[in-house]
């Protein structure tokens, strides 16, 4: 995650508190999604950005994990096509790993 976005997320977490925030990912790959999830939970794993060593412990989900909360019409229009081409199970499993560690 780029440094500017890390700074923005850190500022939002400090201002509003983790209980009011949720991070939703749309990554195409499990590894990239996992890195983003790790950054907003246990801190920047590359130790390059403002979240290095900062454990925000924000609740984080990939949009694929939230299908049961989205109306089927909108899901079909916005998400379902990418379900066919991406490794949905791997992405969900990777993001859930960081959520459980929290």
């Amino acid at each position: 995650m780029d440094l500017e976005n890390q700074a923005r997320i850190k500022a939002l977490a400090e201002k509003y508190g983790r209980e009011h925030l949720v991070v939703i990912l749309g990554g195409a790959e499990a590894e990239a999604s996992g890195l983003a999830a790790e950054t907003v939970t246990t801190g920047d794993p590359t130790y390059a950005g403002p979240l290095a060593g900062v454990q925000l412990e924000l609740p984080v989900y990939h949009i694929f994990e939230l299908q049961n909360q989205i109306t089927s019409e909108i899901w079909e229009a916005q998400i379902s096509l990418m379900e066919l081409v991406l490794d949905v199970d791997a992405i969900k499993q990777e993001v859930a790993t960081y959520r459980i560690q929290k």
Binding site: L21, L25, A77, Q78
Partner: protein
């Protein structure tokens, strides 16, 4: 599973996966408040090959 209703959602989309606006539309329908929307942030994690 988290209840999205009333949550302030930070959306990190991916132009090669699910773009931010598409995720945002889903979240609004579930009652979340779009708080920060970055369409392409995850794509920036990948390194481009040298040319």
């Amino acid at each position: 599973m988290i209840d999205l209703k009333g949550k302030k959602a930070i959306v990190l989309g991916d132009r090669d996966g699910l773009p931010g606006p598409a995720i945002g539309e889903c979240l609004v329908s579930a009652g979340a408040e779009l708080f920060f929307l970055q369409p392409n942030v995850l794509s920036e994690l990948r390194q481009e090959p040298w040319t």
